[in-house]
C-alpha cells in the first residue's frame, strides 16, 4: 500500500518529489477554491452587511431605486420551496429505493435505476422551460383551482392553499424542485439500503417478518443516519438550485403565506437581477445573499457527508 523507498534513488527521487508536489498542489487547489469562494462572497457582500446589519435578513424591503435591501423574502422563498420539495421527494425517493432493492425483479432493477439517474442528468434549464410552458399552465388549470376549492376553505391551513390560480408560485417551484432532487436522494438511499448486512434482513425474514416489517424494523433503523444524510444531500441541492426555480417562481418581492403566490428565492434573485444591478449597494446585497446561500448549503452538505460517512466507514464505500 504505502510502499516506500524506491530502489533507484538518484534522480527518480527528485521526480517523485515533483510528482508529489503537483498532485498535492492540485489537492490544495480544491481547498483554496472553496475558501476563496466563501471569502470573495463575504468581501463582496460586506457593504450590504455593514449598511443593513442584522436587518438584512429580517427586513422585507427590496427597493432598488431607494437603495433599501432586506433579504427576508428570498430567504423565506428558498426555505418554503425546499420544504415543499422535500415533502414530495423524500417519500417518493425512499419508495424508489425500496423498489429497486427489495421489490423489483432483478432484471428490471438496472434499467429503472438508470432511468431514475437520467432524471438527474437532465439540465436544470430544461426543467425550467418545461415548468414554465407545460407544468405551470397545468397547475393553473387543474391543481390551483382544486386547492382553492377543497383546502382553501379549511381553517388554519386554508390560507396556505388560497391564492390566484396563475400556476407561477412557490408550490409549482417546490414541486419542480422535488422532482429534481428525487434521483439524488433515491440513488443514495438505494446504496444505503444495499449496505445493510444481509444476515440482519435474513434473520428478520426467518422470524416471519413481511417485507414491510423488514424495512421498517430492520433496514430503516439500521440506516437511519445515512438516510437523513441522503435527505440533507437533496436539501442542499434544492436550496441552491437556480434555473428551474427562476422560471416558475415569479420573481416577486412580497412575503406571502400562500403557496400559490409568486415569490423569490436567493438563487433566483441573483440570476434575475445581478446583471441589472447598477448601484454598488444593490450588487453587494446580491453577493451578500450568495454568501448566505453558500454558508447554509455548506453546512447542510457537510452534515449530509458526515451522516453518510458513518455507513461508508462501516461497510465500505457506498457511493
Amino acid at each position: 500500500m504505502t510502499a516506500h523507498g524506491p530502489i533507484v534513488k538518484s534522480h527518480s527521487a527528485a521526480a517523485d518529489r515533483v510528482f508529489n508536489l503537483v498532485t498535492g498542489g492540485a489537492a490544495w487547489l480544491v481547498l483554496i477554491l472553496l475558501g476563496a469562494t466563501a471569502a470573495s462572497m463575504a468581501w463582496g457582500g460586506r457593504l450590504a452587511f455593514e449598511t443593513f446589519g442584522f436587518g438584512f435578513i429580517t427586513s422585507t424591503d427590496w427597493d432598488a431605486v431607494g437603495g433599501k435591501f432586506g433579504a427576508l423574502v428570498p430567504i423565506y422563498g428558498t426555505i418554503v420551496t425546499s420544504i415543499v420539495a422535500l415533502v414530495i421527494a423524500v417519500p417518493v425517493s425512499l419508495g424508489i429505493a425500496l423498489f429497486l432493492t427489495d421489490i423489483a425483479p432483478r432484471w428490471i432493477r438496472g434499467p429503472i435505476g438508470i432511468a431514475v439517474e437520467l432524471l438527474a442528468a437532465i439540465p436544470s434549464i430544461i426543467y425550467g422551460m418545461w415548468g414554465l410552458f407545460i407544468f405551470a399552465p397545468f397547475m393553473a388549470a387543474h391543481v390551483d383551482p382544486w386547492l382553492n376549492g377543497t383546502l382553501g376553505p379549511l381553517p388554519l391551513i386554508g390560507p396556505i392553499f388560497t391564492g390566484p390560480p396563475i400556476g407561477i408560485g412557490m408550490l409549482t417551484a417546490g414541486i419542480v424542485l422535488g422532482i429534481m432532487i428525487i434521483p439524488f436522494i433515491a440513488a443514495v438511499a438505494r446504496d444505503v439500503f444495499n449496505a445493510v448486512p444481509p444476515p440482519l434482513k435474513e434473520s428478520a425474514v426467518a422470524l416471519g417478518s413481511t417485507r414491510w416489517e423488514v424495512l421498517s424494523r430492520v433496514t430503516l433503523p439500521y440506516a437511519r443516519s445515512a438516510i437523513i444524510g441522503a435527505i440533507f444531500l437533496g436539501l442542499g441541492r434544492a436550496l441552491g438550485e437556480t434555473m428551474a426555480v427562476t422560471f416558475v417562481l415569479g420573481n416577486a418581492h412580497d412575503l406571502s403565506i400562500s403557496l400559490l403566490m409568486p415569490s423569490n428565492s436567493i438563487a433566483a434573485a441573483i440570476a434575475n437581477e445581478f446583471t441589472e444591478a447598477d448601484a454598488e449597494l444593490y450588487r453587494s446585497s446580491l453577493i451578500a445573499l450568495a454568501f448566505l446561500l453558500f454558508v447554509v448549503t455548506f453546512i447542510v452538505l457537510s452534515a449530509a457527508k458526515l451522516l453518510l460517512l458513518r455507513i461508508n466507514r462501516a461497510h465500505g464505500r457506498t457511493s
Binding site: 431514475v116 437520467l118 442528468a121 428525487i182 437556480t242 438563487a267
Partner: protein
C-alpha cells in the same frame, strides 16, 4: 390471530404498492419532460438551426453562434479542469492516500460537488470579470472548469482506488519509482474509468446555465474571440424562453432538444462503456 396476520399482509401489500407507485411517479416526470422536449423541439429543428446566427426578436434564425460558443467553452473548461482534477484525484488515491490533507480535501470536494453553481458564477465574476473589466468567454470557461473540477477529482480518485493493490506491489517490487508506477501503470489501468469521469463532467457542464449568466453572458452575433461576451446554448435558451416572441420560443425548444440529446447521449454512452469494461 388470523386477523393480525391479515393486517400484516395488508400493510405489506400497501407498502409494495406504494414503492411501485413511487417508481412510476418518478419515471412519469422523466417521460413527460422528455416527451415535451421532443414534441416541441423536433418541429423547430431545421438546417437553419445549425447554419444561422441567433436572430433579433420576431425573425427566424439559428443557434450556430451559441453552439460554437458552448463547444469552445466546454473544451477549454476540460483543458483546464480535467488535468487538475486528475492530479488532485491522484493525490487522494495514491500519493496522499492516508494523509490528513487527503481526508479533508476528499470531504470538501464532495461539498464543492453539490455547491450552488450560481455562487460559483458570482465568484468567477468577482475574480475574472471584475478585474478584467468585461464579460468574456474565458470567464465562462473558468466557471465551467470550476464545476468540472470536483467531478473529475471524485471519479479519478475512485477509478484509481479500483486498481488492485497487487499491481502497485508488483511494480514497487520491480524497483520502479513511485511516480512512474502512477504515470505508466496505474493511469493505464484506470484510463477508461478516468475518461468516463471526464465525459460525465462534460455532460454536467454542458447544461449549466447559472454560472454563465455573469461570466460569458451572451452575444447575439458571431464572435470567434473568447475575450468578449460569448453566445452559448444554455443562456440563449434561458433568454429566449423568457421572451414573449414565438420565434424565440421555438428556437429555445430546438436548443433544449439538442442539449438534452447531447447530455442524455453522453450519460448513456458512459454507462455502456462502464458496463463493457466491468465485464
Amino acid at each position: 390471530m388470523s386477523l393480525v396476520l391479515l393486517r400484516r399482509r395488508a400493510v405489506d401489500v400497501i407498502a409494495f404498492l406504494f414503492a411501485s407507485g413511487a417508481t412510476l411517479f418518478g419515471l412519469f416526470w422523466l417521460f413527460w419532460i422528455l416527451w415535451t422536449t421532443f414534441k416541441r423541439g423536433l418541429g423547430a429543428i431545421n438546417v437553419a438551426l445549425f447554419t444561422q446566427m441567433t436572430p433579433p426578436p420576431g425573425s427566424a434564425g439559428g443557434l450556430l453562434n451559441a453552439f460554437y460558443g458552448s463547444a469552445v467553452m466546454i473544451l477549454l473548461a476540460v483543458v483546464i479542469g480535467a488535468p487538475l482534477g486528475v492530479a488532485a484525484g491522484t493525490y487522494l488515491a495514491e500519493h496522499g492516500r492516508y494523509s490528513r490533507l487527503a481526508k479533508v480535501v476528499s470531504f470538501l470536494n464532495d461539498v464543492l460537488l453539490s455547491a450552488p453553481s450560481i455562487v460559483i458564477g458570482l465568484f468567477v465574476y468577482e475574480i475574472v470579470v471584475r478585474t478584467s473589466g468585461h464579460f468574456s468567454g474565458y470567464a465562462g470557461a473558468v466557471a465551467l472548469a470550476m464545476i468540472l473540477l470536483p467531478i473529475v477529482v471524485r471519479t479519478s480518485d475512485e477509478a484509481l482506488r479500483l486498481v488492485p493493490d497487487q499491481m502497485r506491489e508488483a511494480a514497487f517490487a520491480l524497483g520502479i519509482p513511485r511516480w512512474r508506477v502512477t504515470a505508466q501503470i496505474l493511469y493505464k489501468a484506470a484510463l477508461t474509468a478516468i475518461l468516463t469521469g471526464v465525459l460525465l463532467g462534460v455532460a454536467r457542464i454542458a447544461g449549466e446555465t447559472a454560472p454563465l449568466l455573469f461570466t460569458a453572458l451572451n452575444n447575439q452575433f458571431w464572435s470567434g474571440s473568447l475575450s468578449g461576451p460569448l453566445a452559448n446554448v444554455p443562456v440563449v435558451i434561458f433568454q429566449y424562453a423568457m421572451s414573449p416572441y414565438d420565434e424565440w420560443h421555438a428556437l429555445a425548444w430546438a436548443g433544449a432538444l439538442v442539449l438534452t440529446l447531447f447530455v442524455l447521449g453522453l450519460n448513456i454512452a458512459v454507462r455502456m462503456i462502464a458496463k463493457r469494461t466491468s465485464k
